[in-house]
Amino acid sequence: MLRIVKYVVQDIVRSRIVIAYTAFLLAAAIGLFNLGGDISKGLIGLLSLVLFVVPLVSLIFGTIHFYNSYEFIELLAAQPLKRRTILLAEFLGVSIALGAAFLLGIGVPVALFAANNTGFTLIATGLGLTLVFIALAFLGAVITRDKARGIGMAMLLWFYFAILHGGLMLFVMFYFGDYPLEKATVGMIALNPIDLGRVIVLLQMDVSALMGYTGAMMKDLLGTALGITCGAGVMALWAAAPLAISLWRFQRKDL
């Protein structure tokens, strides 16, 4: 399997999209750190950027890569290889390539300018989100045969997680504000990997007081080592579950 991973990575790192993605992240990170002078301001700006761009690129690139590799996957499936080996190799290949792009674009500047706890949490969160959204992209692409529909689905997923989910949460909190919602809120955050990532990083920043009562509650629930572990666990589940379902579907798929 690693043999296939190697070539998938070699293929992707030469693609213009990945090179542009790396350059964009690098430029944005260096820019943000040199803008205000304050490192934590730079980190917050970078956090918003990472939460916005990383899921989008991972979803769209993962989906397009899968459809573009379709004939090649077919050829691999006709070799004496197990289907799960092929899909896992593709997943690992895309993950390693986009993960490396992220490490180079965000990881290096953060390590240079903000080598603290928050900075490293941000890097880990970005890598986690990369895995989660590639897994979701693969799930969509395995289920949908049609390329246009698959890409549409990827964009809808991104739209939901990046924008809609927050709106829904606001709606719930507004209408049910009279009830004790603190724990329910934490549960709702766990349903969105982007929000989960945001909370994990923000809690490292000591700005959670700015988030009011719920923020304090969350600090209480999630700010501990146990909370961070739980957050990371839920994030891992967000990557593992879609991957497991797509592996299962791919084994029965007619290519």
């Binding site: 070699q10 992707i12 030469r14 050829l75 499936a77 006709a78 289907r83």
Partner: protein, 242 residues
């Protein structure tokens, strides 16, 4: 060598294969023909494990092809449309295939790589290859590991006459070494001289499966294309099946 029994596969309402049974032996070169949507590609894809049939069995030398993916080491496949990762070089693609197939074959067969001068292309990224060059690369990969069974889907489509002739010569040579070749093609005049049997499918069912010599004799034609055109015309006009 390959036995299919009662294969059934439908896509929605369309029955691509309908209780399809057939067997093929070493030394044969079987040409699959039939109108579009008759189940040719579905049958090939079942053999390769790309499509999973709803019912039926598919065995290769007694082992179940559906249950043991490892049996595919005996098969070399040349797809109708070869597409490779855009940024990989031709040399890397061949190298990767060698890695995947390592330990599954006794010898490699580099004749086609030499005949098609693939070595000259080794540093070209796959995205810069023309359709014909991709076909050549696909053919090389199918023959490279000296398998026992060759499945060639439209092998001569897109090849220039010289390359097509080289490929046909290669097919002839492997057949003489007692291997099984399964072909599909629309350009029939191309393939008479390398075909031993013709298998005709219509709507997922086997219409006939006979040695080519007998067919030509019966229809009084010497060209395969004419025989096939005639059969297709006859089967297209509605009449009671005999």
């Amino acid at each position: 060598m390959i036995t299919a029994s009662h294969l059934t596969k439908s896509f929605g309402r369309l029955k691509a294969l309908d209780d399809f049974s057939v067997s093929m032996a070493r030394g044969q070169s079987v040409l699959l023909i039939g109108p579009n949507g008759s189940g040719k590609t579905t049958f090939i894809k079942c053999l390769l494990g790309l499509v999973i049939p709803e019912k039926g069995e598919l065995t290769l030398d007694g082992g179940s092809l559906l249950e043991k993916p490892d049996l595919r080491r005996m098969i070399g496949y040349m797809p109708q449309i070869g597409r490779f990762p855009d940024h990989l070089k031709v040399g890397q693609i061949i190298e990767m295939m060698r890695g995947i197939r390592r330990g599954s074959h006794e010898r490699t067969d580099e004749d086609l790589i030499e005949a098609f001068e693939i070595g000259k292309l080794a540093h070209k990224p796959a995205r810069t290859l023309s359709g014909g060059m991709r076909q050549k690369l696909s053919a090389c990969l199918a023959f490279l590991f000296d398998p026992d069974i060759f499945i060639l889907d439209e092998p001569t489509a897109g090849l220039d006459p010289v390359a097509a002739e080289i490929l046909k010569e290669k097919v002839r040579a492997v057949r003489e070494r007692n291997k099984l070749v399964l072909l599909t093609s629309h350009i029939l005049s191309d393939l008479d001289d390398i075909t031993s049997d013709v298998m005709h499918l219509i709507e997922g069912r086997l219409q006939f499966y006979r040695p080519i010599a007998g067919l030509m004799e019966e229809h009084g034609e010497t060209k395969l294309s004419r025989v096939v055109a005639r059969i297709m015309r006859e089967s297209a006009t509605p009449k009671t099946p005999c």
